[in-house]
Amino acid sequence: MTLEVVGFWVLAVLLVGSALAVVLTKNLFHSVLWLALALTGTAGIFLMLEAEFLAGVQILLYAGGVVTVVVFAIVVTERLVGTRLAHTSRRVLAGGAVAAVFLGVMLDILARAPLAPVMVPMGADPTKLIGMALMTRFLLPFELLAVLLLVSLLAASYLARPEE
């Protein structure tokens, strides 16, 4: 058992556990916090995969940004409704069955796939490569992303704004 394996398992348990908590806990607020944990755990996985830049992005944008926004939304809406938000599940059996079969089939198929056993080192620093790719080959999607974000913001502000 190398350190890597131990680390992976710890992270895996942490991830799966917190993910389960996200979908099972009764308290919406707690759910969000569990999600933050899961996202952070994912950042850990990224670190294990030597993708430090992405881990950073993950923590900053995701765990930081998303969670904050969600919490903010919850607070706003609770103020709007004036009560605590209930957070229950429905059709657990059907959902569980579908999810379980999905997982089973996925794993089964993955088990048959020939997968690369070891990591292949990158030619250069991944962060730099990402940056270069974004500026060359993927310039177009990068620009589109800008439009997308612009529209999203515009849309979000339009929808969330109370009717004047």
Partner: protein, 475 residues
């Protein structure tokens, strides 16, 4: 600038988005009819450009191509958008008057996504374009946020859509995992070796794309969204994003794959069959015409999938033909619905009682659209259905053709129910329904479309077959 250069059109559209956006910043108080007209003018200009474009160029390391298929898509998107924007000009709703620029910005952004999607030859470009197309749609669905149904429709569309995006992305990750590159030209080689990872990825993506094109059982957002959203927009999403979905499917599953594509035939056939049957059946009991058109639209997706199931040149070519025929028929029908709803304040089919006496031309137009959708001769829809069956029969899939042909009868049933309201029953209110000029132009355009295609389908069919040929020849 030469529109044949890749990205020229997208660039101008980007500029148009910015213009409208800026317009919105400055002209907030002035009412936004101007935004609509600017959009319309811009789109018309771009349409001309698209029509003058020649295929064959590639840009950005092959991630962006301007080939026959992408030009087909772009032209279709342009026509649909122009028609939709025309009809939007007739909208008198408060949201449009106050916040029209937001609407047009989102609309154009989504269109930009579609245009790029049509040309994407790289998974990343495809995905981002896909999202750029989708996310504004959620917003546009909820645009009439003061209406009772709009937020609900937006919420459902958004949630199901996001999940589907996640599934698409998940599938995409496997395709990438198999190929080690996001270049889509790597897929054929992988398909040839029946790589499990790529199959898994494409299967997952099929589910996600199934949502976009609204195949059963991924269709459930469709009726609710159609009912909730404003009609010109519905007319647009009933065709444009679906075409985008089909283009993506062609790129991923068909282009260059050749014989290997046959692998997908069984599942596509099943999807097609299920979609045709349930779409048509569920349309029968509808009392709201938008829901009816929604379900019938689902059924039409089934027919399109039928063409896809043929996995042949003619199959793809006929799908393209069908898409165009569907564009005119369906959008036209929605425009009539818009006109009636503006006057009667409801989308219930009851309101169409005696329409033939009140507004004969409007009723006749709707009848023509419905008949085209139902596949009646001398309308575009007839050839569309026929070509599809043809392609299917060519592959020896007689039962599918039978199924499809028989279910058209069910479809005609509910179209005729509408016709019955309009023509057979008498109206209590004899006043004609006012139709704004812009809407009239849009409806007239659609009528011209279905009749032109219906009476002389040859040039259209030939062109679409040529497009389809390119998908198969580049292997």
């Amino acid at each position: 600038m030469d529109p044949s250069w890749p990205l020229v059109i997208e660039g101008w559209l980007f500029a148009l988005v910015l213009v409208i956006f800026v317009l919105g910043l400055f002209r907030r108080q002035a009412g936004d009819a101007v935004a609509g007209w600017v959009t319309l003018a811009g789109l018309v200009g771009l349409s001309i450009a698209v029509w003058n474009a020649e295929p064959g160029r590639v840009a950005l390391e092959g991630t962006f191509v301007l080939d026959e298929l992408s030009l087909f898509g772009k032209r279709l998107f342009m026509v649909a958008s122009v028609l939709s924007v025309l009809a939007t000009q007739a909208m008198t709703h408060a949201s449009f008057r106050r916040r029209g620029t937001e609407y047009y910005v989102a609309f154009l952004a989504s269109l930009l996504g579609m245009l790029v999607l049509a040309s994407a030859r790289d998974l990343i470009v495809l995905f981002v374009a896909f999202e750029l197309m989708s996310i504004p749609l959620y917003f546009l669905t909820g645009f009439l946020k003061g209406e009772k149904a709009a937020p609900e429709g937006a919420m459902k569309f958004f949630l199901v859509g996001s999940i589907s995006s996640a599934v698409v992305l998940y599938g995409l990750s496997f395709v990438y995992g198999a190929a080690g590159t996001t270049d889509m030209s790597a897929i054929p080689a992988l398909m040839a070796t029946v790589n499990p990872l790529v199959l898994l990825g494409l299967a997952l993506m099929l589910g996600g794309l199934g949502f976009k094109i609204a195949a059963v059982p991924f269709h459930m957002w469709v009726p609710d969204t159609y009912e909730a959203a404003n009609t010109p927009f519905v007319a647009w999403i009933s065709i444009a994003p679906k075409t985008a979905g089909f283009l993506a499917i062609f790129r991923l599953y068909v282009e260059g794959v050749g014989e290997g594509a046959v692998l997908w035939v069984p599942i596509v056939s099943v999807l097609a069959g299920v979609t045709i049957v349930s779409g048509n059946l569920m349309a029968i009991p509808q009392s709201n015409i938008k829901r009816l058109l929604a379900y019938s639209g689902v059924a039409h997706i089934g027919y399109l999938l039928l063409g896809l199931a043929a996995m042949s040149v003619s199959g793809v070519g006929m799908v393209l033909f069908y898409l165009v025929a569907y564009l005119f028929g369906n959008m036209g029908a929605f425009f009539v619905v818009q006109a009636v709803a503006a006057s009667e304040g409801s989308d219930e089919i009851e309101k169409y009682q005696g329409l033939a006496r009140r507004s004969p031309v409007l009723a006749l137009s709707l009848l023509l659209f419905l008949l085209s959708l139902g596949g009646i001769p001398f309308m575009a829809g007839f050839w569309a259905k026929l070509f599809i069956f043809w392609a299917v029969v060519e592959q020896g899939m007689y039962w599918l053709a039978f199924l499809g042909a028989v279910l058209t009868v069910v479809a005609l049933y509910y179209y005729l129910v509408v016709a019955r309201r309009m023509y057979i029953e008498a109206s209590t209110n004899p006043a004609p329904i006012p139709v704004p000029v812009v809407l009239m132009v849009a409806i007239g355009g659609c009528v011209a479309g279905i009749l032109l295609m219906g009476v002389y389908p040859e040039p259209w069919a030939r062109a679409f077959m040529r497009v389809a040929m390119t998908l198969f020849s580049t292997s």
